[in-house]
């Protein structure tokens, strides 16, 4: 009896390990309907703000390269660099700013020089009814206005402090978020009177719902232009394919997709 339960127990353990092994191997690449021999999977790590545009570019890339599946992983740029440093199998990395890309190049994990492919600037967003009456960057310093910004540690917050320095206006935010999407959410929910986000974030939210928020562009935003670089990752198993993807991002077609989303040319 004990012998039997021992065998059953060991069998269950081996089975569980085998299952765990299988599922981690697939990682979601299968089941995407790719057919034929010589299938290749290109893994692209991209900043969260690139979600919509990179999905479109990757879709076109798959059309142009038979048998190639592009797997996209979106997160904060710093997160993605940390993941690559810990051995995540990325072939291409697109960062939301140059300092974060520098972390990757400093670690010797970039194959070649990063290519700038887009720019982004800040804009003011308020709830549609603009409860605090914001019309300019200076208005954000109104004592009663509840303003939410990104924390200085993250790219959008760094841009915010640059604009503050350039304008001499000191903001007293009620919250400093770690992600630009959290700033956007605080404004669209009406919790905050105003927020500073990227033009592309505002445009994306307005594309989904024209009454989501009010976008107020301000000239001083030009003081802090964020540049997005992309690079093939060192040690990629598909080095050639990776550089082709980088070329697709910087191509005319790629630029059109990015411009439609509100990104500027580098």
């Amino acid at each position: 009896m004990t012998r039997l339960s021992a065998v059953l127990g060991a069998g269950a353990l081996v089975g569980a390990l085998a299952l765990a092994g299988c599922s981690s191997d697939d990682g979601g690449a299968s089941g995407q309907g790719s057919t034929g021999g010589g299938d290749r999977t290109l893994v692209v790590f991209a900043a969260a703000s690139l979600t919509g545009t990179f999905q479109a570019i990757a879709h076109q890339f798959e059309q142009d390269h038979a048998g190639v599946t592009v797997k996209l992983s979106f997160a904060g740029s710093s997160d993605l660099v940390a993941q690559i440093q810990e051995g995540a199998p990325a072939d291409v990395f697109a960062s939301a700013d140059e300092p974060t890309m520098k972390k990757l190049t400093d670690a010797g994990l970039a194959a070649g020089d990063p290519v700038p492919f887009a720019t982004n600037v800040l804009t003011i967003v308020t709830p549609p009814d603009d409860p605090a009456g914001i019309t300019s960057f200076q208005d954000l310093a109104k004592p009663d206005a509840k303003v939410v910004v990104c924390a200085p540690q993250v790219p959008c917050g760094h841009a915010t402090t640059e604009v503050e320095a350039a304008t001499g206006v000191t903001l007293k935010p009620v919250s400093e978020e770690s992600q630009v999407t959290d700033v956007l959410a605080k404004v669209t929910s009406g919790e905050a009177d105003a927020g500073l986000v990227y033009v592309t974030d505002a445009k994306g939210a307005l594309a989904k719902d024209a009454n989501a928020l009010k976008q107020i562009d301000f000239p001083e935003a030009a003081e802090a232009v964020n540049t997005y670089p992309v690079v093939a990752v060192e040690g990629s198993k598909h080095a050639e394919l990776a550089s082709e993807f980088v070329a697709a991002v910087t191509s005319g077609a790629g630029r059109t997709v990015l411009q439609d989303a509100g990104f500027g040319a580098p």
Binding site: A6, K146, Q153
Partner: protein, 270 residues
């Protein structure tokens, strides 16, 4: 003498324990220990630690005050839809914290029904420490309720019925019989609620925001520091581990839950 256990059970248990312990140990080895002290005593870190301890203590107190009646009602009364109410009360336990935060935002936010009423009364919760406490209570309450309710059910109603038959009123029975009998579970539930508060992240971030000294608790500070200074993030993580271990150790060194029960029973009897 303890009965002999099957070898495979012990093996899986060892794997399970290693799985829980190993990541924390590995993280400790990655820390910049030479600068640990300066990293955890920066103004930002101390503000975050202070805020975390205060909000967790306050929310734990609220959890006890509100959670004990909830647990007793769920365990001791029968009414239509009781099981549904019970499931709903325990919902924050299984919901992702960010969903809890969204729910709180829609209810207590400036444009939510409750938040709107409060706003009219001149009370603004958004982006305040109160919002942090509300998030903590929301996610921690089920831990206390579940622990206490389970104990009450196992305990049965015999002693209460005896007390009532001897002439004790409902309040007297509650204070002198019901509560002392589940004191260990109350202590355990309180500890769990405090620990859950200390680690709360998602609901706080979604509902309360993140500002140094006001809403940025230790987990939020760790999340932010990780963007630019992974060493500081690891140091703060280890600080949180130390605080958590201290909390557990404190409860055990204070005579464990049995001492707590005796103290409570003695205090009430005296």
């Amino acid at each position: 003498m303890a009965p002999r256990l099957p070898w495979w059970l012990v093996t899986v248990a060892a794997v399970g324990i290693a799985f829980v312990v190993a990541p924390v140990v590995v993280m400790a080895t990655r820390g910049d220990w030479a600068h640990f002290w300066s990293l955890v005593t920066s103004a930002e870190s101390l503000d975050a630690l202070r805020l975390s301890l205060v909000t967790s203590a306050v929310s734990t107190a609220v959890c006890v005050v509100v959670g004990v009646p909830v647990a007793v009602v769920l365990a001791r009364t029968r009414f239509p839809g009781r099981s549904v109410v019970r499931a709903l009360v325990l919902l924050p336990l299984v919901l992702p914290p960010v969903v809890c935060g969204l729910a709180l935002l829609y209810a207590f936010g400036r444009r939510g029904p409750i938040g709107h009423l409060l706003d009219d009364a001149g009370v603004s919760i958004a982006f305040t420490t109160t919002a942090v406490v509300i998030s903590h209570v929301y996610v921690s309450l089920p831990f206390l309720v579940l622990t206490l309710e389970g104990a009450l059910k196992v305990r049965g109603t015999g002693p209460e019925l005896t007390a009532a038959s001897l002439g004790a009123g409902p309040s007297r029975t509650f204070w002198l019989v019901t509560l002392p009998s589940v004191a260990p579970a109350l202590a355990g539930g309180t500890l769990l609620a405090f620990a859950r508060s200390l680690g709360e992240f998602g609901a706080t971030l979604t509902f309360a925001g993140s500002l140094q000294g006001v809403t940025r608790t230790l987990p939020l500070e760790i999340y932010l520091q990780r963007e630019t200074d992974p060493d500081a993030a690891v140091a703060l993580s280890m600080l949180l581990v130390v605080v958590a271990v201290l909390v557990v150790a404190l409860v055990h060194s204070a005579g464990g839950t049995r001492g707590f029960r005796r103290g409570l029973a003695g205090g009430v009897a005296a």
